[in-house]
Amino acid sequence: MVATVLRLRYRILGNTLARRPWQLVGFCIGLLWALWALVGVVAGFIALNAFQGLDVARTVAVLAGSALVLGWTIGPVLVAGTESTVDARRLAPFPLTTRQIMSALAATGLTGIPGIVTSLGALASVVLWLRWPAAAVIAVPSAALGVLICVVASRLVTTLSTGLGGHRRGREIFGTILLGVVIMTGPIITGILALLSSAGDVLGRLAQAAVVLGWTPIGAAWAVPGDAAAGDWIPAIAKFVIAAGTLAVLGLLWERALEASVSAPPRQTARTVAPGRLGFFAVMPTGGVGATWARSLTAWLRDPRYLRQLIFVPLFPVLFAFTTGIDGWLFSVSPLMVALILSIAGYADISYDGTAFASVLSTGVSGRADRWGRLLGAASVGVPAVTVVAIVTAAIAGTWTTLPAVLAAALGILLAGYGVSAVSSALLVVPVAKAGDSPFKTVPGQTFVNGLVVFLVLGVTIVLAAPALVLAIVSTVTSSAILAWIALAVAVVAGAGIILGGIVVGGRTLERTGPDLLARIKAFPS
């Protein structure tokens, strides 16, 4: 049975790669990278065994092993759908017991490229203990335990997150928490780095961390051979028991989760607002502009795929504050970076509509009205966000004098970008995560060309914003307050002109390209 599922999985992989040459290229690159990493790891183990003592080997084994377990656990959340070719839901119609499904899924996890590389790497860790034969012998079952913990933990998380998949609300909460974690990643990492560098004795800290981790479910399996090599047999046995217990508990939880995901209702109504609560639809004027504006603004404030772009609003200032300090020039110009990101966030806005763009098209709304609506929606969020970031960073850094110049440059970029996006989004659609999917999901069909187009849009935006940018820079260099206010005026006036031009050109373009864009969206691999 397991063999059949494995054959099926490789069959699906083969068919996918045969149909999509670029994915095959990506697959080969991934394969080469994995091989290279494996060779590096094995070489590192051999070097460690030859030149370093037992203490270093123990620290490395526990830390690397713990990182591996964490990676496997977080992986499916961050890159949703990586291992979805064969999952519990698809196996459900077949007459298999939960246990059989579990062994089939664990086997597919083990035999994927990450699984194979992890297994080989874990097996290679035996090299570390070759000088202590007894430890080397016990390293084999410990490594096997460690790898199984990786695979089962990853499967458990996948089951939980797709099990929640039935509960739209649950998944969205999950996504929001994830957004928060991602926002905090920068400060957390810089904080940890600062702690480490201030501590000075980095190696000592790491060794301490390894000792603690060795007693936790994450690192226990990888700590067993080290203890055995040191002759500490009782801790070694205790940690082996912890690891085995971890695997058993994970297995049990996974079994529960699988059974729950089958018995839970596939859909559950979560949020119901009172009738009459129309949100922005009650406020905006009737007509194509108002309707699109209300829809776009709702998406900017609700849809995780749009919210993801708003991460950058606090992220850039916070990141630069931590890395270069609030006196650094990078902190002062962070509103510009925010403006740049927000201005091109909608460079292929229609992609986010998905096939629902058909309903826009069938209302026969004019291209210009559609452009206005989307632009106003984006600007209702973007202009206040950029302005607030500019004022707040100026207040924190105490650089009130340069505020007009910074504001001029940031708004110049933002408005120019909106104008450019009004045209580019009438020409382009790119594959994006579907509404309701994880905003971090990697979508098939992204091509190299798409990436280049982003840079083209950015380039045109900066060129169009150049007058305001140059004036802002000159005013800062010459400390001329008047010039800074002129720059701000130029930014607003030129920006308005670029937007008007963009809407006329983009609107006319969209009326021509609308049906073709819809056809392209429909043709994206789903």
């Binding site: 119901t272 639809f281 108002g290 829809r295 998406a299 209302t363 026969g364 009326e511 056809a519």
Partner: protein, 256 residues
């Protein structure tokens, strides 16, 4: 204006569409008279959805033209779409909005005056039996509810031509009967409905005109009475389209 009032509700001439090597619609001509309840039937892959997409301005034909009340859909798409209500098959809705928001949004897109919108939305929610679910996100609707909300959106602009692709798929019988009544009243008052369906019984009961299409061509079109020529529509359809097996199925499938 006399020309537009005299013109048929929908006229298709020589429509062609291929997707790569596959020809989906191969020179299709069709006239849908004003005030008719028109059924479009055909096997899977016959080109029904492709045809209706081209007739409503969603899919650009390789060749041929489409007129709605005399307005060329591809020459004057904005004017044509103003008078079409379209329920497209196989496309999503903006399903992060609540049902009420979605209908309101659609009404606003058509520029319905603000003071009329709330009344129309309430009527449509009642007609579809969706008052309870008005405040629920459309993504949380069942398949049948989603179909009904899409139908409500197609009706909100009081179109002169309603193009409904598979409107009754997974809709419960009570709602279907209510919707049917409304559509009858609508055609009686001069509106035109074109529905595609797989259900011959439904088409025979509801429609006064029918076209049978297969492999991208019209095999027969006219009033239901003419097309079925004394047989049931089901029998006539099968004899036109062919491909019916007379068989009890493979031996291994039989239970005794």
């Amino acid at each position: 204006m006399s020309l537009t009032t005299a013109a048929p509700a929908l006229q298709l001439a020589g429509l062609v569409k291929s997707f790569g090597p596959k020809v989906a619609v191969a020179g299709l001509d069709l006239v849908v008279p004003t005030g008719s309840f028109f059924g479009l039937v055909g096997p899977n892959g016959a080109g029904k959805t492709t045809t209706l997409s081209m007739a409503t301005g969603l899919l650009r034909p390789d060749a041929g033209r489409a007129w709605v009340h005399g307005i060329d859909v591809w020459e004057h798409p904005v004017e044509a779409k103003r008078i079409i209500g379209n329920l497209a098959d196989g496309v999503q809705l903006f399903d992060r909005l609540t049902g009420e928001q979605l209908i309101t949004y659609t009404a606003m897109m058509f520029g319905i005056p603000r003071h009329e919108i709330a009344g129309r939305v309430a009527d449509l929610l009642e007609l579809m039996g969706l008052q309870e679910a008005a405040g629920t996100i459309v993504a949380d609707y069942s398949a049948g509810m989603t179909k009904k909300i899409a139908l409500a959106c197609a009706l909100v602009n009081a179109p002169r031509l309603l193009v409904l692709d598979e409107p009754f798929e997974s809709v419960d019988p009570v709602s279907a009967a209510n919707i049917e009544d409304v559509l009858r009243g609508y055609t009686a008052s001069g509106g035109t409905v074109i529905v595609s369906s797989h259900s011959m019984d439904l088409v025979q009961r509801m429609c006064d005109h029918v076209a049978v299409i297969a492999e991208g061509r019209v095999l027969a079109a006219g009033t239901v009475e003419d097309v079925r020529a004394g047989q049931t529509l089901q029998e006539r359809f099968l004899s036109l389209v062919g491909g019916r097996h007379v068989s009890e199925g493979p031996q291994w499938l039989r239970q005794s």
